[in-house]
């Protein structure tokens, strides 16, 4: 095997591992508070086009507009908690919401074109300069260059940005138990081994696609809703380091345009399109009485939603689609033919995709679907594990001192249960509806706290032995070695008794997750028996992961992505098994506990994987809710 160079970057104060929306916010803010600190970014791709926002966005989905008198932070918290059936970290959400506007105003200053809507100033009596609203929380943008713009804020303020570094492991301090000491990884082009020794580490490595078997097959397998490069690394890295995780059962299933997975937000909210079944009928309301029965009036009160603006949780609307299709009345259509008669709305409809999911426009062009004349099909996606959209998977993090009750507070904002290890965006659990702007904001919050952590002397005396560095190196390159040895046994081809290539490995993982943990092919259904069997299969797969083989450095990246996805999946299984109820019908169903059970499960689930034994412990943590003082 080729000998790869070891490149050590020492004396880092703040390491940002993964620089999407969360990571770029972190690097920017870290410099503000840490003028003389050494700030380094390690990013798997090219920071200018990496992460979920690589192709741009057409909306900023989290903006309060407090300045214009629109919403207060607590309004957003209440919205997110209804949407997530009560299960959120309200301290973290309030904190994100009270800061998020300041990030958005900076984006505008930096050049991100936010659409304005002068009409609203008169009609709604808002202060001057109000933005074009897509919905109560979303504003519309021309965001093709969203990522390059925030990337500049990060690179300008970091001491060094390393692109193309796949971070594989966090380094652990050997002087103090449960303290992080940086990270290691390799350059996916040169193959060189990179060691980052750091006092604090902010993980912004994003959520996980491709864990459950995608609907797309073969050549199209990359057409997933969340980016195919979202490899669950935030979770893989943190779980492996022993960080506690929360709400990992809370995967998300999205209603999206069929095959292209083009987003529907602007369609529902701004274009006012609506759905109907294959026979042109409204179907949603048929399923709500049954759902109301199962989840309780508190979470679905159709009458109240009619009278007030009380939102119907996303999962329940998804559930209605699933039920209607299973009842044989598919496909579900989005009625676009009315809205698209307005040329302005038609333009918005198309640009919405060109700005964030070009593949949907490609599909419509290929199939001659002009939504002005044809109502396109919708479908429900495979599940995704992430923590910034309408779902809250991620690390169990401390909140800020002035908001958090004692169970949620251990010193530094957005710090995980591992000292010096912080998270942002998808990495942080219990904070759904952060989206791009909220993830950036969380990065900023984590960075300020990380600076404080260092200034308080909490990172003194970190020890990382050469042994730890050498051990990791050996582990990282092992798949290359495994391949080289095994390859000699066979004539040619991809089938070997001695190694498993990353792609077939990924397919095995997806099959297990799909069939045992509630994926597409089982209509999102699972139960205790299936989950136990799935966990067993995953254990065996973990053994096989010792034999994952990589032909070259590119495949080595895929091998490590698979390892991170596997670690994430294992945690998802543990959580799904633990929560014995169906809290989010539409995201998944537990056939052995089809009802929502507030008496026993009005709690957040928290897991801990022992770093040495790999054993999980599960616990329930109290769910705190904002209440008005008068109440």
């Amino acid at each position: 095997m080729k000998a790869y160079k070891t490149i050590v970057e020492d004396n880092i104060d703040i390491l940002v591992a993964g620089a999407g929306l969360g990571g770029t916010g972190a690097a920017y803010e870290a410099r503000y508070w840490g003028r003389n600190k050494k700030i380094v970014i390690a990013e798997k791709a090219n920071i200018n086009r990496s992460g979920a926002v690589a192709q741009g966005l057409y909306a900023i989905n989290c903006y309060m507009g407090t300045r214009f008198g629109e919403n207060n932070p607590e309004d957003h918290v209440r919205y997110a908690r209804i949407d997530l059936m009560g299960m959120v970290r309200e301290d973290l959400l309030f904190d994100m919401a009270r800061h998020v506007d300041s990030a958005v105003h900076k984006f505008e200053e930096w050049g991100l074109p936010l659409m304005k809507d002068p009409k609203r100033e008169n009609a709604e009596g808002l202060a001057k300069g109000a933005y074009m609203r897509e919905g109560k929380w979303q504003i519309m943008i021309h965001g093709e260059s969203y990522k390059p713009i925030v990337a500049e804020a990060a690179t300008k303020n970091a001491d060094k940005t390393y692109n193309r570094i796949m971070v594989t492991h966090l380094l652990m301090d050997e002087a103090q138990e449960n303290r992080v000491a940086g990270a290691v990884g390799f350059n996916v082009r040169t193959g060189n081994y990179h060691v980052f020794k750091s006092k604090a580490t902010i993980v912004g490595a994003g959520g996980a696609s491709n864990i459950f078997k995608p609907r797309s097959v073969g050549e199209g397998a990359g057409r997933v809703w969340y980016a195919p490069w979202s490899s669950g690394s935030a979770y893989g890295l943190m779980i492996e380091a022993g960080a506690k995780m929360t709400q990992m059962e809370n995967r998300i299933v999205l209603a999206r345009f069929k095959d292209g997975y083009g987003p529907v937000g602007a369609y529902f909210l701004h274009l006012k399109t609506y759905t109907q079944n294959g026979y042109g009928e409204e179907y949603e309301s048929n399923w709500f009485p049954e759902l109301e029965e199962r989840v309780g009036k508190r979470y679905l009160d159709v009458e109240a939603s009619h009278v007030t603006a009380r939102p119907i949780p996303t999962c329940l609307r998804t559930s209605a689609i699933i039920s209607e299709i299973n009842a044989g009345r598919g496909p579900i259509h989005m009625v676009t033919m009315e809205a698209f008669q307005d040329p302005h709305l038609e333009e918005v409809g198309w640009e919405n995709f060109l700005g964030m999911t070009v593949g949907q426009a490609v599909l419509w062009a290929a199939t001659d679907i002009d939504p002005k004349y044809i109502n396109p099909e919708l479908t429900t996606s495979e599940p995704y594990v992430m923590g910034s959209h309408a779902t809250g998977c991620g690390a169990w993090c401390s909140g800020p001192e002035d908001l958090s009750p004692e169970e949620y507070f251990w010193g530094y904002n957005r710090m995980t249960s591992v000292s010096g290890l912080f998270g942002a965006g998808d990495a942080v659990g219990g904070t759904p509806h952060a989206f791009s702007s909220g993830s950036f904001t969380e990065g900023r919050l984590a960075a300020k706290a990380a600076c404080q952590y260092i200034d308080d002397g909490k990172a003194e005396g970190i020890v990382v032995s050469d042994q730890q560095i050498a051990d990791r190196k050996e582990e990282i390159y092992k798949p290359l070695e495994t391949y080289t040895v095994g390859r000699n046994e066979i004539v040619a081809g991809t089938v070997s008794p001695s190694y498993l290539l990353p792609m077939p490995g990924l397919q095995r993982l997806q099959k297990i997750m799909d069939e045992y943990c509630g994926g597409v092919t089982v209509s999102y259904m699972t139960n205790d028996k299936l989950l136990s069997m799935g966990m067993q299969k995953l254990k065996v797969m973990e053994e096989d992961m010792e034999k994952v083989g990589a032909e070259d450095i590119h495949q080595l990246m895929r091998a490590w992505e698979l390892k991170h996805r596997l670690r994430t999946s294992e945690c998802v299984f543990q959580h799904t098994f633990f929560r014995k109820e169906t809290r989010w019908p539409g995201y998944y169903y537990r056939g052995d506990a089809m009802k929502l059970d507030d008496d026993n499960w009005h709690v957040l689930t928290v897991s801990h994987r022992d770093r040495n034994t790999g054993e999980y412990t599960m616990e329930k943590a109290p769910c705190y809710h904002l209440v008005n003082d008068e109440e």
Partner: protein, 163 residues
């Protein structure tokens, strides 16, 4: 396929290789030109298409659901600050779109904090982030807190949903 590269247009400059978030645009050893090494890991994100100085990269919709005979082309112009799209249907119809990508000259509007004065200790000890509290409240007051908004956090399932 996601993406493919026209042999006659590509000069092997490597911009696409440099930008692809999936690391799947590679230079072919024999022809010294770029190609997509792993189409099933392509998101059709168009990052490479936008980066190619010779319009050598195009996208052919995923074979598992997209018929042949369409094209979605784009030109992203950093100087003008615009992106142009041309959508051509299988049946020949065409739609054109043009959007802004930035309102500022590139690389000018983001400060490097190393050149700016240090924040005060008072700010450090507060919950404020950079440049706050400007714009985060209607009345230009300080940060929202539980106290300022007359709220408390209570544990358990007892709360009233008033939205």
């Amino acid at each position: 396929m996601p993406t493919f590269v026209y042999m006659t247009r590509c000069d092997g400059c490597g911009h696409c290789v440099d930008i692809c978030p999936s690391d799947i645009m590679h230079i072919d050893d024999k022809y010294r030109r770029a190609y997509n090494i792993e189409p099933n890991m392509c998101w059709e994100c168009y990052s490479c298409v936008k980066a190619c100085p010779h319009q050598a990269i195009d996208v052919r919709g995923y074979a598992d659901f997209a018929p042949l005979g369409h094209s979605v082309r784009t030109i992203r112009d950093e100087e003008k600050g615009t992106i142009a799209w041309r959508v051509k249907f299988r049946d020949g119809r065409v739609k054109n779109f043009l959007s802004p990508i930035t309102t500022q000259p590139w690389g000018t509007k983001i400060p490097d904090f190393r050149n700016e004065p240090e924040p005060s200790d008072e700010m450090r000890n507060s919950h404020l982030l950079a440049f706050e509290p400007k714009y985060i409240r209607m009345d230009d007051g300080g940060l929202h807190t539980l106290e300022s908004n007359k709220l408390s956090l209570k544990a358990g399932g007892e709360y009233h949903e008033s939205l």
